[in-house]
């Protein structure tokens, strides 16, 4: 594929701008660094290959996160699964007690619940926007959010607010 200098510069800008968002969503699914890295590489490889026509930064981010979710789901469906690891092992540091508890609880959640929690609370998307990213109905997203909060409350004995 022939790519000129301008395309390459734009691609580099996109990768650097959205690296954190893509990586964090991937991590929310797989909860380990190694798989998150695989998914990260796959997402930007697809971006380069497909060269999608994206109208705005908002659209670009949503597109990348949608591809991240698809790649993460494919990855989880494959036989080559790694175990989730604690954030302490990932971060290489001892976490404060509160973060340790929350991390342990998140590891108990199923991946698609973690993803919805992440997109809603960290990325700040509305349920309708999450529905578009994850190709689900808004009612499905609301159900997942409610269920994820319920499960976290059971484990943490406090509301996730």
């Amino acid at each position: 594929m022939h790519r000129n200098k301008q395309d390459q510069e734009e691609t580099e800008r996109i990768i650097r701008q959205y690296a954190d968002a893509v990586y964090r969503l991937a991590y929310s699914y797989v909860h380990n660094r190694s798989d998150a890295e695989d998914i990260f590489q796959e997402v930007f490889l697809r971006y380069v290959r497909r060269n999608p026509k994206l109208e705005s930064e908002t659209h670009c981010k949503a597109w990348l996160l949608r591809v991240t979710a698809n790649c993460a789901k494919n990855h989880l469906n494959s036989a080559w699964k790694r175990h989730t690891v604690s954030l302490e092992e990932t971060a290489g540091a001892v976490l404060p007690e509160e973060e340790h508890r929350l991390d342990a609880a998140l590891r108990e959640l199923e991946p698609h619940y973690r993803a919805v929690i992440h997109l809603y609370y960290y990325e700040g998307y509305r349920t309708e926007e999450i529905a578009k990213i994850l190709h689900c109905k808004p009612s499905t997203i609301r159900s997942r959010l409610a269920r994820a909060r319920e499960k976290l409350k059971e484990m943490l004995k406090e509301e996730f607010v």
Partner: protein, 356 residues
């Protein structure tokens, strides 16, 4: 607060600088992915391509399974082959394989175009499907399901999707029937968002009338969490549509605004519903903050015909005073799909034994 803790935790989760650099360098010179590092993803992708390469005929469903087995015995062990196929509008749909564990079912579904090449729509396709699990009929909202694109085989014009079903209430057992129906596959999304500066909100509010004689019948509602406090005081009566003011979004028009029961109704008209024409409006204040609707009412002239609707009205409800409204502009966010393929595909299959 747990949410604040979560936000703090995310700051620790970042890609290494080396990973980002590697991605940038790969983008500059796309090369083959190292087989060893990406074995998991590459094998799953190869598996999907191989599936598409096998002629999708009922007699070859076992071939699907054997192909899967050759690539990944572990993955093949998880999926059980079934033989379910139907054809409509020159497109054959086939249920390829099922993975049933705990209360979750994953099903690979393929669609092969036997007459043309209509399904090559990119990975952003959306399907309009219905799912019935008769054994769970006593539970309302008993399951959630999604059907997502996983690959396209250009040689055999075959689309592969993964149907995932998660049961929330009740329990699935081997032998339970699942009825999966699909009536549309939608292509690329067309998105428009921006200020609707062609709308004169003040004039619309001044001339508002409501449907006192059910000219429009409310047949559905969407609610945001904040709606709870308003529900009981609201009557489900919609604005009487005024002349359409077209918007830049195709097949979307503004048809009125007005106050009732202390809430502002903002009405939009959507045509071409078969193209999944949807959207929302919000109010943009001068300081840039946005006010989202609390809820929305969907209405039509005759709700006995909602399954054949090609257009509808939606009243978006806001809690905002007339004085505050003076400071606001209307903002729209609309989407629809192109390259739609319609058909009538239905398969019924039974769940195999669970995979441990």
């Amino acid at each position: 607060m747990m949410k604040e803790t979560y936000l703090k935790m995310q700051e620790r989760i970042q890609p290494d600088a080396a990973l980002i650099t590697a991605a940038v360098e790969s983008a500059a010179k796309p090369k083959r992915r190292p087989i060893l590092k990406y074995t998991g993803i590459a094998a799953a992708a190869a598996c999907l391509v191989m599936v598409g390469s096998v002629p999708v005929l009922a007699a070859n469903v076992p071939a699907f399974y054997h192909v899967l087995y050759k690539i990944s015995p572990q993955t093949a062990e998880l999926f059980k082959p079934v033989e379910m196929t139907c054809e409509s509008n020159g497109i054959r749909m086939e249920v390829g394989a099922i993975y049933f564990r705990e209360n979750t079912v994953e099903v690979y579904v393929t669609m092969q175009d036997l007459e043309a090449d209509r399904l090559n729509m990119g990975e952003n396709i959306v399907s309009s499907f219905r799912l019935m699990v008769p054994s769970l009929s006593e539970y309302s909202q008993s399951s959630i399901a999604s059907c997502n694109y996983t690959g396209y085989d250009t040689e055999h014009k075959t689309l592969t999707m993964l149907l995932e079903i998660e049961v929330l209430h009740g329990e699935l057992t081997p032998g339970d029937e699942v009825i999966f129906s699909l009536d549309h596959v939608y292509g690329e999304e067309i998105h428009w968002e921006g200020e609707l500066d062609m709308v004169d909100l003040q004039s619309a509010v001044a001339n508002a009338e409501f449907c006192e004689n059910e000219e429009l019948q409310v047949y559905a509602l969407f609610e945001n969490p904040e709606w709870e406090a308003y529900r009981e005081k609201t009557q489900f009566i919609m604005l009487k549509p005024s002349a359409k003011t077209p918007t830049p979004a195709e097949s979307v028009a503004f048809t009125g605004a007005g106050y009732r029961d202390g809430l502002l109704h903002m009405q939009m008209h959507f045509e071409e519903l078969d193209d999944l024409n949807t959207g929302t409006v919000s109010l943009l204040k001068a300081d840039g903050t946005r006010i989202e609707p609390l809820a929305g009412m969907y209405g039509c002239e005759d709700k006995s015909k909602i399954h054949d609707l090609t257009s509808q009205y939606t009243d978006y409800l806001f809690d905002i005073s007339e004085e505050e409204l003076l400071d606001c502009r209307l903002y729209g966010d609309f989407r629809k799909h192109s390259d739609n393929v319609a058909g009538d595909w239905t398969v019924t299959f039974t769940l195999p034994e669970r995979t441990e």
